[in-house]
């Protein structure tokens, strides 16, 4: 069971990371593009932190794609990475702790 909890935790973390990263993945995201609600809620430090972390991450991904001579819009590959990570993480978390049917009901017919 312990291993499943660990997988679930990693899965959830990956899912959150990928989901939050998505807006930055296509490279055009800046702090100004974040929802105005963040300012209203006085969450500028969060916005700053997100922008610096994910902005830099996206740039690093872009550089690695440049090195691989990827054809097409690099941002879209990074977006594929982010959404892939989110889907994979979420699915692994569900697979690890999702409803189990380990205890199958076994009905034994009464023989006449």
């Amino acid at each position: 069971m312990a291993i499943r909890v660990v997988i679930m935790a990693i899965g959830i973390a990956a899912c959150l990371y990928g989901s939050i990263m998505m807006p930055w993945a296509e490279m055009n995201m800046t702090k100004e593009n974040l929802p105005h609600t963040l300012t209203l809620l006085r969450l500028e430090p969060v916005a700053d932190a997100l922008d610096s972390v994910f902005g830099q991450t996206a740039e690093a991904h872009k550089a690695s794609l440049d090195a691989k001579e990827a054809e097409g819009n690099r941002g879209e590959y990074v977006y594929a990475f982010a959404i892939g990570l989110a889907i994979l993480g979420g699915a692994l978390a569900v697979a690890a702790i999702g409803s189990a049917d380990e205890q199958e009901k076994m009905l034994m017919p009464e023989k006449k």
Partner: protein, 381 residues
């Protein structure tokens, strides 16, 4: 019955997966269904690519923004939103399909599920695999880059070595005597036409199964989709050069070993080695069930005097081996079960299904089966 070493290996692996994921989501329980899900991914991504693909090779006016197969693929990759990603998904889903089919085959082989009545599944599975390989190869021709041209030329020379019909086959392949615009129409037709024919092949593949598992649970599909997108990021599409019909160079090219390994064999061994590999390899996998499947299986037997015609056994039999037929005149019941012995695997499911002790396996008494199930269920709980 003795459990083979390989069956044990698979059971241990399954157990390992069951420890990290709940048994409901164990991918090994869906090894047959995974290729089917991947097929849907391929159909959908292929449809998006098809919308913008132009199957011509005309390259006389490259400088004037000419639209041909190669430039349309470039357009998809560089100008259509997410075009490069869809292209890469289409390519890697194809690779994943080959991997999933081979895993399915290996597991079916090592768990002994290809014998006897299952020869239809084995043979149709091989035909499906060959079709998938050919569809994948035509996908590589369609890009119409330098590699496509080399592959096309290699295919034509391989076909032309076949006695009597070889030259004709070469012309069929090129849709004419030389490479022309019609050639790519033919490639596209083969690529898409054969893809849809897969559905018919799958119908034959499932025909003797009462309840084939053809859709993995959504979570397994999401895992696969997530992995596919990560692979797209890790191995992005890279630029290639347009095919030049004037060029006679046979530059070295990247070989996708999932689909293009026959070309690798051809380049390494020459024509004779290639055909020997293809023919002997195909025959060998096709004929495997014959000698290996000769292990006799005792089919279930119905005790006619006890059968009430309740149809439970026939509905539970996984291999459609029990047919309900009208009961003989004078019987109190309308129907009676009959076993088609050539389809019976001796699995014993029907013995468990019958509440009237009316069906037995010759070497396994009903009471023994019930006792064994009771023991197993006790051991598990």
């Amino acid at each position: 019955m003795e459990t083979s070493v390989w069956t044990k290996v698979f059971l241990v692996t399954e157990d390992l997966f069951n420890k990290i994921a709940t048994s409901k989501y164990n991918p090994l329980y869906y090894h047959g269904a995974l290729p089917q899900f991947i097929m849907y991914v391929l159909f959908l991504s292929g449809l998006l690519l098809f919308a913008y693909y132009v199957p011509t090779i005309d390259n006389a006016y490259v400088s004037k923004n000419l639209v041909n197969a190669f430039t349309s693929v470039k357009y998809i990759t560089n100008d259509i939103p997410f075009g490069a990603v869809v292209r890469a998904v289409h390519r890697y889903a194809g690779d994943a399909m080959v991997v999933a089919i081979v895993l399915h085959m290996v597991r079916v082989w090592f768990t002994d599920r290809y014998r006897q009545y299952r020869w239809v599944q084995w043979e149709s599975g091989i035909v499906l695999l060959i079709m998938v390989l050919f569809i994948g190869q035509t996908g590589y021709y369609l890009i119409w880059d330098e590699r496509s041209l080399i592959l096309t030329r290699m295919t034509v020379s391989a076909l032309e070595t076949i006695p009597v019909i070889g030259v004709g086959l070469g012309h069929w392949f090129l849709n004419g005597r030389a490479i022309s615009n019609l050639t790519l129409s033919n490639f596209l037709f083969i690529h898409i036409g054969l893809s849809f024919t897969l559905l018919f092949g799958l119908w034959i593949h499932y025909v003797r199964m009462t309840r084939p598992v053809i859709t993995p649970p959504p979570v397994v599909n999401y895992v696969l989709m997530g992995l596919l997108l990560l692979v797209v990021y890790l191995f992005p599409i890279t630029a290639t050069k347009m095919a030049d019909l004037q060029s006679l160079t046979t530059n070295s090219m990247d070989i996708d070993l999932f689909f293009l390994f026959p070309y690798w064999v051809l380049s390494q061994t020459g024509m004779f080695g290639f055909w020997a590999f293809t023919i002997i390899g195909t025959l060998a996998v096709c004929l495997i069930p014959l000698p290996m499947g000769a292990k006799p299986i005792e089919a279930a037997e119905v005790v006619n005097t006890k059968c009430t015609g309740c149809t439970f056994c026939s509905r539970d039999c996984p291999y459609q081996a029990i047919e309900m037929v009208p009961a003989p005149a004078g019987s109190r019941f309308k129907l009676i079960a009959t076993v088609k012995s050539y389809r019976c695997s001796g699995c014993g499911v029907c013995v468990g299904a019958c509440a009237f002790d009316a069906i037995d396996l010759p070497n396994l008494l009903d009471t023994d089966v019930t006792e064994k199930i009771k023991q197993l269920s006790k051991a598990q709980s």
